[in-house]
Symmetry: C2
Subunit: 326 residues, 2 copies
């Protein structure tokens, strides 16, 4: 498949360059805090990086905006495309709209109506397909043949990691600005691994400990790290819909090298963490975005005895509200 | 009933003095914005004053903290008490805890368990009573006789208005700091009228237009203004549980003098506004806190043609999450 132009080397410096590019295109999302949540959870200040408040409702706007910025003029003219039913679709649609270029999204016809509405609202061309991997890929190939649009992958690309890694640069700055001092650790969700990989590269050499957070019911990354090689034989079955993807080919070795450990949590722990974030932080986080907080609340994580404040990444807020308002 | 010591005159200057007192005790809550919500609603920038993110989950912490600050040393030693099942109970409990004094709360035994848990978590003494006005008042009298605690009323007091009016001072400053310029209007919910009254006093002479927002099903303030006198014969029946109280004796004339108009909205409009705030702003607002946004979305309000940004007060975030997570 066609992908974007060659990328910078995977390094903290490249992520600084990426940040200069995306900073005007995304929100510098706040670090939210709650004395109650921090004191109930342990002895560390918890700094919640609120990517649920980012444009399009998730961190995906960082990678999408950065990926588009790396396109050549010729590529830009052709527009972009992807297949996704979730946050990457909305983010790419908005990033393309901001750049003023065409965007084509292939989504399964079973995708949540609210997510399809967001894609349409951002002006992207939406093509619905049957809910199978084969149908998605066939539909995407057809879009590419018809339009020449450049495929922007959701996670399995160096540019994606460089874009998502900008989260770390902001968090370490904001922790200092807010008077919390140097971060002791950062905990981020891992689905495809674009964000966790990027954060781990940005943190390399800083002394900040980097941890992944994954549902037990989609634990391919944790299992892959234990086995020493990427695991692909798994059937994800978790409420955390953003984390059902396998870790990407490009992302896995980066995580292997730079992430101290990936912790897993149960569905019950995810739901309880999500409810606490809604109730105490008054912030709408989707299940995937609550997985790191569920990890931080676990005994296994508490046993680590982190020294310093902990940045907990809330990756997105595009939660299904039909139950609350149905 | 015993009340706190004499208060300053009701004026913008007094509210500035109150702000100096409460600023270290409460959050300077942010002005949240959404380009989508603003552009879908009309031609004005909407600046959502996020009092749902304030300590104890609502603006009530302002009035409670300020009321306690006005107690004499002798009164402080006796502690404070109130009857409430809602945000004032939690706010007074926290403000008393911060001051290190006893707090006694009388609540109907039918109050939501989550709200009672918050009161207990803040260390207040909780006394449950039957869910009638008579039982509440009798229980409160008994608490006062037993403990000598000073009654801090939830809304019907000058000190309460002075405390809640600080919302306006912050909003007008933040609008300038954020580059939005001078406010064109501010819209606040009206239940007992402590917040709307205080805001209207703080705004007097500034040229900022002040509007109230009330459920149709608890429209005593709007009816009172139309009639030219306070209305007390009403049976509130609205999802906006914070706005079921009648406008206070002290508050009504202040609102009558300083508020341009009180708009009413239907239950459906309130729920739709609440859902939009959760979905787009990713912020958990309780029904009462969504009433001003429901007003701003109405045709009647849009016909006003406000000149400048509109501050929309989201008063609290202590929403019942049992439906979303039940």
């Amino acid at each position: 498949m066609q992908t974007a132009t060659p990328s910078l080397p995977l390094s903290r410096d490249s992520i600084k360059q990426a940040h200069a590019v995306v900073a005007p295109l995304v929100h510098r999302t706040p670090l939210l805090t709650s004395e109650t949540l921090s004191s109930e959870t342990g002895n560390n200040a918890l700094l919640f990086k609120a990517e649920n408040l980012n444009k399009s409702g998730s961190f995906k706007i960082r990678g999408a905006s950065y990926s588009i910025s790396r396109l050549s003029d010729e590529e830009v003219a052709r527009g972009v495309c992807t297949h996704s039913s979730g946050n990457h679709a909305a983010a790419l649609s908005l990033a393309a709209k901001n750049r003023g270029i065409p965007c084509h999204i292939v989504s399964p016809r079973t995708a949540p109506p609210a997510k399809l509405a967001a894609v349409r609202a951002y002006g992207a061309n939406l093509r619905l397909c049957e809910p199978t991997i084969e149908a998605r890929e066939a539909a995407l190939r057809q879009v590419q043949e018809e339009t020449g649009a450049v495929f922007v992958p959701p996670y399995d690309a160096v540019n994606t990691m460089l874009g998502q890694g900008t989260i770390f640069l902001e968090a370490e700055e904001q922790a200092l600005e807010g008077g919390w001092g140097r971060l002791g650790a950062i905990v981020a969700p891992v689905g495809g691994g674009g964000m966790l990989g990027g954060i781990s590269v940005a943190a390399a050499g800083t002394g900040v400990r980097v941890f992944g957070a994954e549902p037990e019911c989609a634990n391919d990354c944790a299992r892959g790290l234990a086995k020493g090689e990427r695991v692909t034989d798994f059937t994800p079955n978790t409420i955390a819909d953003g984390l059902r993807t396998p870790v990407g080919l490009n992302n896995f070795p980066v995580i292997q090298k730079n992430v101290e450990k990936v912790f897993t949590v149960s569905e019950e722990e995810i739901i309880e963490a999500q409810r606490l974030l809604w109730e105490r932080l008054k912030t709408v986080v989707e299940p995937s975005g609550a997985v790191p907080f569920a990890v931080v609340r676990s005994e296994a994580f508490q046993a680590l005895k982190i020294d310093g404040p902990i940045c907990v990444v809330m990756s997105g807020g595009n939660s299904d509200l039909s139950k609350a308002f149905g």
